[in-house]
Amino acid sequence: MTQPWTDIKNTDLAIVMGGNAAEAHPCGFKWLVEAKAHRGAKLIVVDPRYTRTAAVADYYAPIRQGTDIAFLLGVMRYCIANDKIQWEYAKNYTNISYLVKDGFAYKDGLFTGYDEMKRDYDRSTWDYQIGPDGFVVSDMTLQHPRTVWQLLKDHVEQYTPELVERICGTPKDKFLHVCEMIATTSAPDRAMTSMYALGWTQHSKGAQNIRTMAMLQLLLGNIGVAGGGMNALRGHSNIQGLTDLGLMSNLIPGYLAIPTEKEKTYGDYVATRQFKPLRQDQTSYWRNYDKFFVSFMKSMWGDKATKDNDWAYDYLPKLDVPAYDILRMFELMREGKVNGYFCQGFNPILSIPDRAKTTDSLSKLKFLVTMDPLDTETSNFWKNFGIYNDVDSSKIQTEVFQLPTTCFAEEEGSLANSGRWLQWHWAGGSAPGESRHDTWIMAQIFLRLKKLYATEGGAYPDPILDLTWNYADPEEPTPEELAKEVNGSALADQFDAKDPTKLLTAKGKLVVNFSQLKNDGSTACGCWIYSGQWNENGNNMARRDNADPGNMGTFLNWTFAWPVNRRVLYNAASCDMQGRPWDPSRKLIEWNGSKWAGFDVPDIAPDAKPGTVQPFILNQEGTARVFSRGMLRDGPFPIHYEPFESPVKNVINPAIRGNPVARIFQADVASFGDSDEFPYAATSYRLTEHFHYWTKHNRVNAVLQPEFFVEISHQLADEKGVANGSWVRVWSKRGEVKAKAYVTKRIQPLICDGKTVHVVGIPLHWGFMGAAAKGWGPNSLTPVVGDANSDTPEFKAFLVNIEPTSAPAIA
């Protein structure tokens, strides 16, 4: 989220698309209820189902899953055609006036440079024209045909209300009503918030779904302002933190990158990360990349990381593919190329696509280690549970370990919420039985491995033997020790750059925040964006002053928000070119003549003059990118593509299946179904009584929603002869499930390009372990397709068939 949850009370209009906040994030959604009650805010819901959020919306419009880009490009077209643009904002704070290289073009669903064999683009033309001064060429009149603005106008032109209706199934009048509501927020003193979740990410073009809305929000001037923003309502309690800390194949904590093998030396690696400003006077904060990287390496390997050995650059593994993400690892497993796997509180047998493939892959492992407080399906994948897990144990040669961990109530530490608040919590209960903290288990595994290398030698033991491990009790590092290590400290006395006699941080002390990090090896920091969380002032994540002096929902003394306790990202964009708030009644910060001040930590240097230094300080441009250059693999503007399994052809270019650069494995292609055999458009979703595959272990939640079901319309039920509450079989090219049919009015058939499309809703909370009745999840049915940029699987749009059946035998 660009905002905290509590900022939603400041909005004038919320659009919930790609999410269902009332159901999945009820206590955060209350802030929207607050905005409706006290500000007169309106709520729009666009969703294939009439959801619980829709039930309290001011306006609901149906949409076929997987067509959000067409819808939003249509909204953008409407705003452009009707002059509903926040012009001062869009012209100055975005790149719409920049000129794009002459070679770049769009035709029939593809941009310049597509290679069908590689399923990839040559993106070299997707960039700005650079002038002799080294800066981007622009035309503030926006008249030049190569401006981003003119290219965008051309690009969205085809997305007429009629085309939107053909693709999305949204009736034209409803679509136009939504356009009118959204367009009102182009007024400088009106804000719209976009609240989305996995309904946007779990697509083969998930990143572009989100980008399309971000572009619209920029044109409307709704980013950086109170009550605005792009708000990813994240799932798990620390999904934000795990991402921030880089627990992904290709990341180093704080959104730094694991090197590729093409970057042979640290020099090669850092050369492409200089981030020279592309416009005069701009901040381009990533220019500090090397400070964060070197400080990370010092945190990992201490004295063993020196300038002479390129800060131990060789200690990092180098990638030969973009990422060894979960889908790639399970593909490699199926091919017999993976021997060992750990699941630390992750239940892939229910949470990654194509369960049959997942089981097959796990069965090829030599060993699997699970760490969890609960008896998960994944740890029991080898065990036969009748139709619910029909495997032959004797044929599975995987050695499986089940290590019991503590749960939240028995451990201490911080979690990063969706609004980037790092909140500390304390242990209150004793661990049951022999269960242990994850930190203890990880330390034990590490120390034992290290000992084996110390005594036996072996393959390149250096990074293991030299890993910093300065904990009072090496057997179990404490949360306090780890939080300080992440914050970072001075390895030598740190003096003020402006006054070298002034000592800022003495050797051995914690740094105040990342502004003190150096690229010369004199500081260490585990994760630069978290720096400031626990400094010499103490544990800032444990702060509990809930005062809100500006009544803006920023709560600056409540815990700690990254970066540097900032609550609303890009908040300098909440002011005009003179530094005055667009809406004085919703002031976050303002320029007081000499510096920025207000109710939030300014997202700009405190003395950076408004109108000169632009608010998007992380970008080389200083502005936000309506045209994203070559940064996304599938285009600098979004394009409508159908899901890989779609009930209709792509009307823009029928020859294109799915997103043309989405990641698919050749071995999975045979498992994609088509609409002749599988005519119904399925989607997965959550229920408020359950949390993923977790609460089915709880008696109360298992009582509240005891049993797996699938949701269909009355029309489809009549067509198929299915009565409400009777049993149905639902199957895809990859597998089948049996469930009770829930026949509702919440789902209505859509008319797309003249064809009736029936939607089948499949909730995701059941499995074969726990207190609830046994069932299946949607992943028994979904295809292995990864988003072109994030490799997130396409769970929200796939094809199934359905027929009446009899009840399964009681297991």
Binding site: L247, M248, S249, Q344, A409, S414, Q444, F446, G458
Partner: protein, 199 residues
Amino acid sequence: MNMELSRRHFLKMAGVGAAGTSLGAFGFGGVEAAQAAAIRPYKLANTTETRNTCPYCSVACGIIMYSKGDLKKGERADITHIEGDIDHPTNRGTLCPKGAALHDFVTSKTRITVPRVRKPGSDAWQQVSWDQALDRIARLLKDDRDANFIKANKDGTAVNRWTTTGFLAASATTNETAYLTYKVVRSAGILGFDNQARV
């Protein structure tokens, strides 16, 4: 300010105060005293309160956990009740149907309490000691790493990667667990590293 203490004391004091006031004011002597004695004391006043965060979605509602026994004093502590934290700016004491039932997760019958191993081809778990499990895991890791570690690619560039073992991290563990996990996984050269955010 330590609000945990102040809240708890406030509850205790409020209970005592109410009983004392009514006794003194109405002066019904023995009847009132007997009645006051029969009033069950406020149950939560004798528990230890601990602030925590709901582990489910990323709204991250503040919660208060009540336990019998105080972990900080080295006692065994059993969580008896969990409710929303009224001081928390986001949820202001409220919880959803999941958060309100958190106690059932802590005490779930399907929590695992001992390390177990399932041998290749077997159809049953077998309980093992931590040492047995961890030593065996370390050995499996070392052997796989030694056999499959790639020091250099075919161009001779140092790549130092290990791709035959992978690690899936969760997204409900703490940042501190996450950082320690990162250190251990990355220093071994593992690239097959991912977390729940992917899906």
